[in-house]
Structure formats: C-alpha cells, structure tokens
C-alpha cells in the first residue's frame, strides 16, 4: 500500500478518457458478513475506488437512506474494530476509503485511527464534519502514514478555502449542491462552473458526490468531473433486495460504469 494508489486510480481512468466511478456502501448493511462480498462485487462491476461507511449514531450530513442504513447496521451491533478486521481481510486492487464522522476518529485517537486504517489497507478518510480548519493540522501526519484526509469543496466554498485545500491530498470531494446525501432528479446547473472554479485553484482530481443516482446523471457528471461518487442510490437498491446485495451491487455499478 503506498500513497500513490488514489493518484494511480485517477490517472488510469484519465488515460481511459473517462471519470472514475466511486460507489459507497455502509459497513454492516445488510450485514457485516456481506461487506467483503460487496466490495468484490463493486470491483467486478467496474468501481475505480470504493468508499466504505463506518456507521455513526448521528450522521448529520446524510439523508434518509444512509441514515437508515447506519441505524440498521448499528442495531445489528457492528463495531469499529470488527469493520477494521473485515476490511483488513479484503483483497482488492481498488483503493479503499473510509467515510465516517469525526467523533469515531477522535474517540479512537486521531493518530491511532489513521494508523489502524492504514494497516487495514485504507488509502483515504472522508470525514464530512471535519472541515479543513480543524483537520489541516493532521494532513501532513496522515500523508506521512499513507492515508489521505480527503478535503471537501461545496457550492458555498470561498476562494481562500480552495487555495488552502490545494495543499491537500487524494482528491477533492465536491458536494454538488448545498444539502445532505440522497438521490436527486437532475444534475445541478451550478455544478459545471463550480468544478471549473475548483480546478482553477486545485490540481488534485475533483470527484463529485451527493445526489447522483442514474446512469444518465453519472454520464453528465462524468463529463464535468474526474470522479463520480454514488452512495444513497446504491444503498437504496440494496435495501430493495438485501438478500442478494452483492449481485444487486454489481449490476447497479456496471450500469453506471457503462454510462461513463
């Protein structure tokens, strides 16, 4: 595992002339035992990077679908250590990222969490309630330990913020609209100018999340950005047929990938 895995993944898709596909699943939903088969299915379906959510009791950046998945995972008794153990055992050539909330990181100890994530084979952390002003002081340490703390950009972000995150690592997680995670019917008209503006300040790849659910939206977003993140729509599909989650996930991701 070295620190260029995320970079390599984006370089590969750029050479192929398409955006990277980054699906999200919640660890522990439908069950923790399903996590490894799900990751393998996502890879088989064509995922370029994979986000694994560690469920938190109070996920304030998430809409109803991902809240529901976290609630069910926690009700099933899933623990952070179990997730780390399962992830350690997953063999995949795709870079894995954790998405979780800052209290779980802080509670374990920030450096401990980063070290444990690295040892489990994780390349980056996406923490929506850990903005740049609070996380910046840990950027260098995390980078030295081969974990990227993924910076965020939003439609409300100022130019000074975009200049600051130019010193970040991995890619820029761009929130396509003001709001929480969840499927939306259209791609926001402000997205293209936002991505253009980010790219004027930052040389990192720009991936876009929040609201992308269909192959059409993925294609449209993929023309604008370097990466397309799909979470709620995939988890919703799993909820409709949880017993066959890996097969559903593979089919769903393949549909998106074919559109890119």
């Amino acid at each position: 595992m070295d620190k260029s895995r995320i970079k390599d993944a984006f370089q590969k898709t750029r050479q192929e002339g398409r955006a990277a596909l980054i699906p999200y699943v919640t660890a522990g939903y439908p069950t923790l035992g399903m996590l490894a088969p799900l990751v393998r299915a996502l890879e088989a379906g064509g995922a370029d990077l994979i986000e694994i959510g560690i469920p938190f009791s109070d996920p304030l950046a998430d809409g109803p679908i991902l809240q529901e998945a976290a609630t069910r995972a926690l009700a099933g008794g899933v623990r952070v250590q179990q997730i780390l153990d399962v992830v350690s055992g997953i063999e995949t050539s795709v870079p894995l990222l954790f998405l979780t909330y800052v209290n779980l990181v802080y509670r374990r100890g920030i450096e401990q969490f980063i070290r444990d994530s690295h040892e489990a084979g994780i390349s980056g952390l996406i923490i929506p309630d850990w903005p740049w002003v609070e996380s910046a002081q840990h950027q260098a340490w995390a980078h030295d330990h081969d974990v990227a703390l993924i910076p965020f950009a939003a439609p409300t972000s100022t130019d000074p913020h975009l200049d600051a995150i130019a010193h970040g690592h991995g890619f820029v997680y761009t929130v396509s609209v003001t709001g929480v995670t969840g499927a939306r019917t259209t791609v926001d008209k402000g997205l293209a100018p936002l991505v253009t503006r980010i790219k004027e300040h930052v040389s990192l790849p720009v991936a876009v999340g929040f609201g992308i659910s269909t192959p059409e939206q993925a294609r449209e977003t993929g023309r604008i950005a370097d990466g397309v993140i799909v979470g709620s729509a995939l988890v919703k599909a799993l909820m409709e047929d949880p017993d066959h989650a890996p097969a559903v996930a593979e089919r769903f991701v393949k549909g998106l990938r074919d559109a890119l």
């Binding site: 304030l60 209290n103 309630d129 929480v180």
Partner: protein, 404 residues
C-alpha cells in the same frame, strides 16, 4: 483569583474545547455569522434595541429576592433569580431575542431552531412572530408527544413544527435535523441555536446574550447584601442558563455549582450527567464532553426534565470543569421531584423541573451549606407550569417507571 484569558480564542476554542466541526458547506455561513455578530456587538444601536426589547417586551430585569421561608427551613439565606418571570416563562427568550435581531441585520428571512422540551422552540417562535418572520422548529417525535402543549403554543405563534423520527427521536436528533436543514438552505436561513452548544461562534454568542442574567444578578445581589453570594447554583443541560449566570461572576470569589440530571441514578446508566462522566467527544459542531460508548457512538440521555435530556454540554462548561472554575454535581429525578414540591409549598413558586434540580442540590447539601454560613443564589431558570401534567401523571401511578 487571577485574570482569566479571554475565551474563546480566535479559533473558537475554550482551552481544548469548542471549535467548528461542521460540513464544509456551512463554514462560510459561520464566518458570515461571526463577522455579523462582531459588528453587532460593537454597535451601540444593536445593544440599545436588544435592551429595549428585553425591558418592554420580555419584562427585564427579572427580580432577585430572598426566599425567606426556604431560608428559614434550611438555616441559611437562599436567593432566587427569577428567570421564570420572563415572557414565555424561562430564560430562553433572552437569547432568541438577540439572535432574531441579528438574523434581521443579516437579511435572513427564514428562521429554524431545534427544541427539546419546547421552551426554546416557543421562545424562537415568539421572537419570530414579533418581527413577522417565519419559524420552523425541529422537535423529536418523542418530545412532540410528551410536550403536546408546547407544540400547540408554537403553532399558535405561527411556527411550523417538524416532528423528527430519526435516531432516538429526541433533542439530539432534532438538532441533527436542524443542521441538515441549515446545510440545505444555508443561503437564506438563520439557525437559532438554543444553548451554549454548537460550532463557534454559537457558544460565545448564546453565552453573551444569556449573560444578562448574571449581569443583573450581580448588581441586584450587591444592592441587596453589599456582598457576593458564596455559591451560585444553576441546572445544566446544554448549559445556557447556568453559563448566563456564571459568566459575569467568573472572576469573583463565588463557588459556581452546575447541577446535571442524574436521572434514575448515575449507576443505572440512565442519566444526562455529561460532565460528571467527563468523556471528551465531538457532536453538533464542537468538542466537549459527551455521553458515548467505547466506539464514540452517542448514547441516549435520560432525565425527567426534558430540558436536561441532552447527551452533550457546552464547551465552555467543559472548560470550567477542566480548569476547576466551576463544580458540577448531579441530582436524580426523584430528588428533583421532591424539590419541585418543596419550592411550591415554601415559596408559592412552581419551578421548572430543570430549576428544581438546582433547588434539590441546595436542600441535599443543607448541612454543609449551613455550617459554611453560605449565602446561596439559585438561578430559577423557568416556571413549572409546563411540567405539571407530567409530574401529575408520574405521581398518579407511574412510580418507578419512566415519566412520559
């Protein structure tokens, strides 16, 4: 007592506590709010407008008077700061008046708030109605059920009440939902936070607005006794009434006592005594103490008093605990219920269950306080009318069960 450093610092920190842990989308809004608040704070006309409203609309200054029969029963003088006499029946309106004035200055047309028992929701709806603004209040579904009267009050005042069914369906979940609304509608929406919690600048701003309690009390107490109280006692949920009375006394030779809810007993795990547990964590935008498990998952709080039923606490309280400037103690549901009766019988005042926790500590520590020649000032943060139904129901047959 030496000079304390000015808190929070430029990063919104009270020592190790505080900060700004919110999605990046909200960071510019917090910067905008900080700038607007700083400007308002140094603007004489803002202060005058706020003070005029507090005087002529809210009914301030609230009285501070000795509770003579309580003093006689306990053997030492006890004084009450009567925040229950504010318009809407609690201290909450001091803060909502200030924040609504700020929202108007900033040109925000939509007001949102979270509420637990409904007191902050009512105070927000009241302030919004006064200025013809639309308020939307997030309230946990469980609280909507157990505080039906306050829900109706908010609706009477023209507010829309959203019942929140996620998580534990209580105050923390209502706060999550209010933050989700804010992150979605950040450009035109002002989020009125009801306690000294949340990301910077909220803990500072709410403290400043609530400090009117302590500023008045300090002047009134000195006029009445030409000295200081030995102890100031106030209930702590998120901690706004207690910080409001503590803060102006922070450099005086006065013991500051924050009373948390021990619920059914600390040992049962069913309580809301966040500072008593003193485990650091990050929730709703700031680093403070939290009720949480070994992984950092937030644990549900429990108290007979809906206003204390919160698994976090303001970061400046965490700092006061950390530095030893204030002491934090806890009182059980049963002790608070007993005090609820005592104050009604002794003084003709039915206290809010929150305030009854502070009264209960004074009664519980009677011997110690008497032998120390104490002069105790209690912040009577609200009136108990809102709790009468729940107490009646509890006493009529739910003994030992959860009062709903």
């Amino acid at each position: 007592m030496g000079k304390m450093k000015l808190m929070p610092d430029a990063h919104g920190r009270f020592g190790p506590f505080g900060g700004q842990y919110v999605p990046e989308t909200l960071m510019p809004a917090l910067d905008e709010l900080s700038a607007a608040y700083h400007q308002a704070k140094t603007d004489k006309s803002f202060h005058e407008e706020w003070m005029a409203l507090l005087k002529d609309y809210v009914g301030r200054p609230t009285p501070l008077r000795q509770a003579f029969r309580m003093s006689e029963k306990l053997g030492f003088p006890v004084y009450l700061k009567r925040e229950d006499l504010n318009h809407t029946g609690a201290h909450k309106i001091n803060n909502t008046m200030g924040q609504i004035l700020l929202a108007r200055r900033m040109g925000k047309t939509r007001i949102i708030a979270e509420t637990g028992a409904g007191q902050h929701g009512v105070a927000t709806a009241t302030a919004a109605a006064l200025f013809g603004l639309k308020a939307e209040i997030y309230m946990g579904a469980e609280d909507v059920e157990r505080q039906a009267l306050n829900v109706y009050r908010m609706r009477l005042l023209g507010a829309e009440v959203h019942s929140v069914h996620s998580g534990t369906s209580t105050l923390k979940d209502a706060t999550n939902e209010a933050i989700r609304d804010w992150v979605t509608n950040v450009r035109d929406t002002f989020y009125v936070i009801g306690s000294v919690v949340g990301p910077h600048p909220y803990p500072m701003m709410v403290r400043d607005f609530q400090s009117i309690i302590g500023i008045e009390a300090r002047r009134q107490f000195r006029q009445l006794t030409s000295g200081f109280p030995t102890h100031i006692v106030a209930p702590v949920g998120g901690g706004s009434n207690s910080m409001g009375i503590f803060y102006p006394f922070r450099q005086d030779p006065v013991a500051l006592i924050g009373v948390e809810a021990a619920g059914e007993g600390i040992e049962t795990g069913r309580h809301a005594a966040t500072i008593t547990m003193a485990e650091r964590g990050i929730l709703h935008g700031s680093l403070s103490y939290l009720l949480q498990d070994a992984d950092g998952q937030i644990q549900p709080a429990h108290s007979i008093s809906a206003g204390l039923d919160y698994p976090g606490v303001g970061p400046e309280h965490a700092y006061f605990h950390h530095t030893g400037r204030a002491q934090y103690v806890s009182i059980t549901d049963q002790e608070a219920l007993d005090a609820f009766h005592r104050l009604a019988e002794w003084e003709g005042i039915i206290p809010a269950l929150e305030s009854a926790h502070a009264i209960a500590w004074v009664i519980k520590e009677q011997k110690v306080l008497e032998s120390a020649n104490a002069r105790v000032l209690v912040n009577l943060s609200g009136r108990g009318d809102k709790d009468v139904d729940a107490v009646l129901g509890y006493e009529e047959g739910n003994h030992g069960q959860e009062p709903h």
